[in-house]
Symmetry: C2
Subunit: 509 residues, 2 copies
């Protein structure tokens, strides 16, 4: 067995033979990210500029994200619905700030028919006679189409609140794209709620920020800061934008989810009024909130290492893989019996398990493959294990291996998965804590950004002008204004003007 393991290890060292070389993080973090996305079969670029193909393994993780979030939305009283992909231009432009914010990145449908190209047999051209009277915007977000619908649904306070979510694709024409992080088409969910009072809508916006934070921390093992966006960074058309901000391993921040308090902006743009309990007409208060396939990028960058992905167990589409170590058919047969029983045992405990008995690939190749894909637990079973009633269990996060008895395997593996989940969170939290710096001068601010990265807590005078200048000079943006009470006051690092609390700066994705 030891000899076989050595052989396996040798094979791992030769994993470059697999054509799966991954750039090391320290060499080129960006390339490491792209390598992981592509080589772990998560996603790839398509023939359509900026649009990605989410491959089956990547999609299986997105499905886990969807399931967990969908349950959290429903547990907080929301229901799903579906609204059209297209937004007529006249509706799109109704809320001016929102329209202005997205106008530059909208895909526009102008025609509804192709016809044979008389000049080129077998080719098609857009039929000029099939021009739409009004152009249609492919939704970059759905406030416009949804609020124009809410107008029909809301008359009285009895019709409120509306607590609706949709899972959908949206299109924002991006010039510079990166798989998952910024693509022209992406998948997301967008919640759109309507309320009778300002208080209720604000509470909803905060509730959903907290739902996102809980999801990020509990499922993605990703510690996040919660806060409010500055006016310069908020959603076009929102009164306030709340957000969760995570830190990646290269010290850059990533906005992982946003929840907007829309005030009455969309209600006014679409004339959505209701009769209150006193019989008076009022405009409805709104929120919207969303997370997208961008979360896949966060997941990869927060936990991955130079050998590949590390998927937190609660989002893993495969929790454990069992690999037989065998020299001949007979050994494989005997190991397979045990492995199949183990698989069944683990499945009954609610785990998703793969038994990889392929005889076309060596164990070492398989070890490297599942490390690359970030499967949380790997179980190897060899002939000696059969004699001893044991198996070798390796955890993906720390690479630590242990011998484990077959008996109580389900319980022990479950506990191990919980330990991995907790460890990933703790590791990311530790990284964030080590990369969160309080600074009191602009020099210190710039030095920290350049030498250490991470979140930088500094005083800011609250003006968009200062924010813009700091961004121009350092590429750092205000990620959020923390919501915690009892913030100390001080002086803006850039202007020296008074500041009521520190805000969080970082360079960001």
């Amino acid at each position: 067995m030891a000899r076989l393991r050595q052989a396996a290890n040798r094979y791992i060292c030769k994993k470059f033979d697999m054509g799966k070389e991954i750039t090391e993080r320290s060499a080129d973090y960006s390339q490491w990210y792209i390598d992981l996305v592509k080589k772990a079969d998560l996603a790839e670029n398509s023939d359509v500029r900026g649009c990605m193909i989410i491959k089956p393994y990547g999609f299986s993780i997105w499905e886990k994200i969807q399931q967990a979030l969908d349950k959290m939305f429903k547990d907080t009283g929301h229901v799903n619905a579906y609204f059209p992909l297209f937004v007529p231009k006249s509706l799109f432009e109704a809320e001016e700030k929102n329209a202005e914010g997205f106008a530059k990145e909208c895909a526009i449908v102008t025609h509804y028919r192709l016809k044979a190209d008389a000049a080129n047999k077998g080719k098609l051209i857009v039929d000029p006679e099939a021009k739409l009277e009004e152009e249609l915007v492919v939704r970059p977000t759905s406030e416009a189409i949804i609020w124009s619908t809410y107008k029909k649904w809301v008359q009285s306070y009895r019709d409120l609140p509306l607590l609706i979510n949709q899972w959908a694709n949206v299109v924002r024409w991006e010039m510079r794209t990166r798989l998952f992080l910024r693509t022209s088409e992406f998948l997301w969910q967008e919640g759109h709620t309507a309320h009778a009072t300002r208080e209720e809508a604000e509470k909803e916006a905060l509730l959903m920020m907290n739902v996102y934070a809980e999801f990020a921390e509990k499922f993605m093992a990703l510690p996040v800061l919660r806060g409010k966006k500055s006016d310069g960074e908020k959603f076009p058309g929102a009164a306030d934008t709340y957000c969760i901000e995570a830190l990646m391993q290269d010290g850059k921040a990533l906005q992982a989810g946003t929840s907007h308090f829309l005030g009455q902006n969309f209600a006014k743009a679409f004339d959505v009024q209701f009769t209150n309990k006193e019989g008076k007409l009022e405009f409805v208060w709104g929120t919207s909130w969303g997370v997208s396939t961008r979360l896949m990028g966060a997941l990869i960058m927060a936990h991955g290492d130079d050998d590949g992905l590390i998927i937190p167990p609660r989002l893993a589409s495969i929790h454990a893989v069992i690999i037989p170590i065998f020299k001949n058919e007979d050994e494989l047969k005997r190991i397979s019996e045990k492995a199949e029983a183990l698989k069944k045992n683990l499945q009954q405990a609610g785990l998703t398990v793969k038994y990889d008995a392929r005889d076309t690939h060596k164990p070492g190749f398989k070890f490297a493959e599942y490390e690359l894909k970030g499967i949380p637990v790997r179980i190897a079973i060899g002939p000696r294990d059969l004699e001893n009633g044991t198996m070798e269990v390796a955890r993906r996060d720390t690479k630590v291996k242990q011998a484990m008895k077959f008996e109580d395997a389900a319980k022990n593996i479950q506990e191990l998965l919980e330990e991995i989940q907790a460890n990933l969170f703790e590791r990311a939290l530790k990284y964030r804590e080590e990369h969160t710096t309080i600074v009191n001068s602009y020099d210190e601010f710039k030095k920290t950004l350049d030498e250490k990265g991470g979140f930088v807590l500094a005083h800011w005078d609250g003006s968009s002008e200062t924010e813009t200048k700091v961004k121009e000079e350092t590429k750092a943006t205000i990620r959020c204004i923390p919501l915690e009470e009892n913030q100390e006051s001080g002086a803006c690092i850039f202007t020296g003007k008074p500041s009521s609390q520190r805000v969080v700066f970082a360079r960001a994705y």
Copy 2:
């Protein structure tokens, strides 16, 4: 209690007060359908021509359909992925028959930016400088984009089969639309598989037809015919199209799902070749298969009655609703205790239960409301029920009521739901059998279509010419060529030419 029930019944008779009047089926079946869709809050038209809004209640049923199908797909070895919404025109036109088939109903993106309209403050216009070099087709179906991707994924027989499905929205620019049945944008799933051999691909196409049939019969309680489409009715680009065909209560047929054996058509169009075990290059064999939100239309039309929807229990998002019958606060309080306990009890048995304790609406109003929405089981609890340890249980399908003891409620309600599921299927099957007619002459054929409707089994000479003429004269199409062996031979009802088997004609949606 009896008096209260009478009051409730009176209220039902006055349900026209609810503003929920439904046209009777016998008066106008089409209007009845639209009334149900709208008044039961399933869907409505949007401001975008031909695009619908699927409302929360409608979407909750679609989610049940998705869940059941998704499990069946995964149980048969398929995985989900996601491919781009847009298809570059040059890819779209590669498979000529497919392109020709969809060219006339394609939404086309030509520009990627809006800009401020100098002539109209606050308005936007399409930026003429942001014209795409190549137009993008909003996918009407995804064979083109997927096969252009499979070309990159397939080199060797080891890469096959690919068994991939996606849940997506598609757009087919329809001139005459009807909610769920025919909309410009609709939701669907589309499976796209690639195989090393013709046999395997044909087997897959048949397998998925059978998966659809099983889903229709087991979950939708909808008996379906399985068969092959004639050349005139098959999918553009397919070698063979298999389908399931259902019969609606107005005697019209509805195609509920299709599964296409694509031969090597798309592999040739996109040059997808693989090295077989003998080291020779071959084109890949393909299938595609899909069902859409059209199934919602089938569900409504197959089972609904003049009082509203009837949702088969296995697709019901609410299995049972509990309604308290009370005269005062004290009674409501005592009933609520019992009702909440019952709800919990039923939930523990895996049922979704709603307790409607609103004091703003009378029981009769609620009865009518849940009948309209097709909730399979309604439970009424009044003060006398508390004394007797009973409740009144009404089933939606037959409207039969029975007194039921609280004890064993979970078991009894579960059995009742199974009975309802079975009864709906039997009822639909009986209707289909009564509306399936064997005819031997063209006169008989026309008479049957006009007077009775339904499926008409007739001999056909196999020519597209005859098919077209029959369609022109009678509006009936060949729904499918049954797959059963041992078909009798005969003479075509239209031309008298020889026919090897009867085919199924009907007027269809």
